[in-house]
């Protein structure tokens, strides 16, 4: 049997996440907030400008094709790192004509939506977001409060950035562990906490 074995550092990090409570996913292991921030190449608040799908060649298998998509973003705010301009995410999956390639667990991009994205490995990864769907948070304007609030990929409000590491639900039980606050985080609050985490991470790495 031909197997590729992981490098030691990857195996070690896998072991680390295995120890996280209720943080395992079949396709994706939900990352912690700090790890998401640290792992991201850049983090932006942006609106989706366009989504275009086409057939591409698999570089590892000449002659084999797959459907990919380019998601063009209109960056409203750079929260971490230095994204290219224009910023276009390169994803596996999409629709060409009547044929569609889906990657289960891939986040949905809707033209016009506002979102906070933890981008990693754009052009190299299947989905260039940390933890696939965990790397995308939608921002919705609350007309009653006037706040721009942050929501998880499954539509749950994000009350605390640490909730990122929690699974969306547990077996048959509501997400009672989820931190309940009066209101979901605002986009600016979330951005502040991301920046604080990034600063903390930088301090740790510079020691």
């Amino acid at each position: 049997m031909k197997r590729c074995y992981p490098p030691l550092w990857l195996a070690a990090s896998a072991l680390l996440v295995l120890l996280l409570p209720a943080a395992r996913a079949t396709t994706v292991i939900a990352p912690t907030f700090d790890r998401m921030v640290a792992s991201s190449d850049y983090i932006v608040r942006a609106t989706v400008k366009s989504v275009v799908s086409d057939w591409r060649q698999n570089p590892d298998k000449p002659g084999e094709r797959y459907i990919g998509s380019m998601v063009e973003l209109n960056v409203l705010e750079v929260i971490k790192g230095t994204p290219p301009s224009p910023l276009v995410l390169d994803l596996v999956g999409g629709r060409v004509g009547d044929k569609e390639l889906t990657i289960e667990g891939m986040p949905k991009f809707v033209v016009g939506e506002e979102t906070i994205l933890f981008v990693k490995g754009n052009g190299r990864q299947i989905i260039p977001l940390v933890g696939m769907m965990h790397g995308k948070y939608n921002v919705r304007h609350n007309k009653l409060t006037g706040r721009d609030e942050v929501f998880r990929h499954n539509g749950d409000p994000l009350y605390n950035e640490q909730d990122i590491s929690r699974a969306a639900s547990t077996d048959g039980a509501p997400s009672s562990q989820q931190t309940k606050a009066a209101n979901p985080l605002t986009a600016s609050d979330f951005a502040t906490r991301i920046r604080n985490s990034a600063k903390s991470s930088n301090r740790e790495s510079s020691k």
């Binding site: 197997r3 295995l18 079949t26 698999n58 084999e64 048959g172």
Partner: protein, 482 residues
Amino acid sequence: MGLLALVSVSGAFGFTFVLNKNTGLPIKWPEGTIRIKILLGDTKTLSDGTNYNTSARAAAQTWNAIIGSAQFQTDLVTGPAGTAGDNNEVNELAFADKVYGKDFDANTLAVTTGYSTGNERVEADIIFNTSYTWDSYRGNIRSGSYDLQRVALHELGHVLGMDHPDDATPKQTVSAIMNSHIGNLDTLTTDDTNGVQSLYGPASVPPNDAFANATLITLTGGNTTSVKGYNTKATRETGEPRNVDNPGAHSVWWRWTAPSSGSVTLDTGKVDATTKKIDLTKGESSYFDTTLGVYTGTGVSSLTKIADNDDIESGVVQASTVTFNVVSGTTYRFSVDGWDGDSGGITLNLNFNSVGGTLPSITTQPANATVNSGSSVSFSVAATGTEPLSYQWQLGGVAISAATSATYNIASVSTSQAGTYTVVVSNAAGSVTSNSATLTVNTPAPPPPPPSSGGGGGGGAPSVWFVAALAILGLARHRRFS
């Protein structure tokens, strides 16, 4: 432009599906065998005694045990590990460190990729990330290694078209192997079973497959009701009519008797007011492209078609709907089939509109009467029911002209009007006929006999005989004076 990914929505029980965004219907395999090649390898013996290939095959067999119209082919297990091809219309399970030449995210255990055309899946591959250590065992998750079998069970659920209930909009909170996270659960739950059987049906033939075994529908919620079923593994009968002239292949039958006249709207799915697509979120829609037919008659080969339909909106909303008038007491037969052999879970919604509401009900029946000829008589009826009520009196079953109110008066009865009277009371919902009331007409009394001689009588009108006598006497006197 627009949505990049297929939209996930919730089902009635929490289960969710990968949907065709054009139709709103789940993407699934056509009936038959889902060919899979398990290229995970068979050289390493795992904790439960399996190897990677046989562990994954056991997961496929777990799904096979509960689904009807499609089955994973599991005899294609190959010995050595191999790689999955892209867009080759072969379904493969393999280990890899890349997918389509791109890296896994560091947090991703396994990925299921699926190609589809329209509502049909045409290829799906499962790639297990070689960055992780894999084993095969039951029970709680162990530290340091992932159970390939439960991950395969989850990913094969994706291959079948299932999605994450906890990622649905709105989110569902259920116990399910199809939830987005792995945990101590290592078997399918009721929600997983309900979900996959909505797509492929159970392994059994539906009880209402044969026309003669049509399931009886009764109105349970006022004038509406919804019934559930499936048509996977159902077959057509000799002489059976075709809905919308489509060949079909998997018809099932219901029957319903109209309690009163009116109209019925029958459908196999509801439309979401916002998306204008079929709405699977409320458990009111079927999970496949249906056809629907309404018939009357008692023999499957001699039915009279009343109405049929393919799509609510051709090619877009692939649920079916018909509206037709019904006559009180008539039994209607409903056939649900799949367009070009499609099949799956059925929801059939019936909305009965009894037009005028409640049928008339007679509270006071007309009474018998006996009168003399030339006398007057009156018949009356009292009835309740949705207004307006109308009346038609009949004599011997024949409508009487201008006798159209609750009371029927005859000013001067003749003997020809004797007989059996009924009244038909009607409204928009239908009509009822009263009990019979009999009119008896007495004929006039015969003339009295002539008076006897010497007899006198006092008082009263002079008799004919007396007048005649006077006339004779008067004539005699007239002759004497002459």
